[in-house]
Amino acid sequence: MYTDVLIIGGGLASLYTALNIKSDLKITIITKGDLYRCNSSLAQGGIAACIDKEDSYKSHIKDTFIAGNKFNNLQALNMMVKTSKERIDKLIEFGVFFDKYKNGKLKTTMEGGHSNRRILHAGGDITGKVIMDTLISNVKKRSNITVLDNTMAIDLIKNKNICIGAKVLNKKVFNITSKHTVIATGGIGGLFKNTTNTSISTGDGIALAYRAGCNLKNMEFIQFHPTAFYSKEKGKKFLISEAVRGEGAYLKNKFNERFMLKYHKRGELAPRDIVARGIYKELIDNDEECVYLDATHLENSFIKKRFPNIYKKCLENGFDMCNDYIPVIAVEHYFIGGIETDFNGLTNIKNLYACGECANTGVHGANRLASNSLLECITFGYNIAENINNNPYKDKYILDETYNLDNWDFTHYKKKIQCIMDKDVGIVRNKKDLLKAEVKIEDILNDFNKHFYSKDFF
């Protein structure tokens, strides 16, 4: 199968890129599940953008730089912040309906690490779903875009240092050759036992890129979200947006103390890593399993209107946010590292781009400021589209082989990896445990190499 542009992944990074590519190019989007199953659809809090007169580029850049421990690529960050309004306008043009006041002004909220109210939101606390639903309906109307659901990229195809597509798997394995290939496969939450991510986030794009010879960057930086709903039941750790703390909720320990003020002057609204470590420390020091989010002092009607989805989910789990403290813990949330790209989203392999959470553009530095990741998806998605629009690439490769596969069982390895990563590569790390984890993971990879994976795998 041949396409002008192959996009691996179907989240925000993918769809925004696709919709900004010229309509005379044939685009194929492949997704491991369907378009609705991705982290983008789960985003609650919103998307950061400098749109208000009271806000300034300088302040957004400064907040991001501080949260990123001054490790950010300042040029990329400058570009992202300064084009944020245009990128948001384009979302609005596509039909995304952000929450507004009666006078038509866009509503903005506050989140940890931001010094101004600059987070746009939609549907209260279902920003990601509103954006994705709107973009999906745009994609469906575009005759040049084909979406292949339940289709997983398993390796990239290269001709020397040029990427010419990917080997993919749905009911069989086949090649999709392309002029341009964009990896937009999202995060790595699936590597951990406790995560806010969907289970499809297994770092596929990063592994494919690595096998193809891409440079990776900042792989040690993983953000843990301070407030995931705590439950002993598997699969029940849904996110409770930072915006809840942004609107005034407190974090308390079992002694009913607002402990975050001990760790940072911004208290509950300190940067995420500090809040996550504060929670971790409380759990160790007090031998607790969770801490509590207290929103009971906020106006009941405000909670229900501002956080309808979170309110409903907590209620379904037996907690009424208006009256009860919500049990929370810090879990894996966002991957900062990834495939190294330039301003145009290009990797070190020709015609291969990476966008969204799987990419490392440098904008987040050593830690991501809340709500900057959706902005990163659309900023670099747009740049990639522009680069593709302006660089028609002549050669056309057709490689139409298909493969058949053997049948093995190795399902237990997934759980093993998740336990190792949760235990030894979590919020607080040490050299001894990391070395132990390294040996255990190497053993797993050796098993793969020994038993299953070889050049004549197919």
């Binding site: 297994t202 590292g337 049948n407 990896i417 050299k431 990391l434 990879l445």
Partner: protein, 43 residues
């Protein structure tokens, strides 16, 4: 041999990718010996 349990093949690649990325993360963690941002290392 002709396949075909596609589901199993999918799990195979997902698991291989998970192990590969885990290895790369651990290597990067070991390389950065000082805490920085969300990489926090206890001495």
């Amino acid at each position: 041999m002709i396949l075909i349990n596609i589901f199993i093949v999918k799990i195979f690649f997902e698991t291989l990718n998970m192990a590969t990325v885990s290895k790369l993360i651990i290597k990067a963690c070991l390389k950065r010996e000082e805490s920085l941002g969300c990489h926090y290392i206890e001495k």
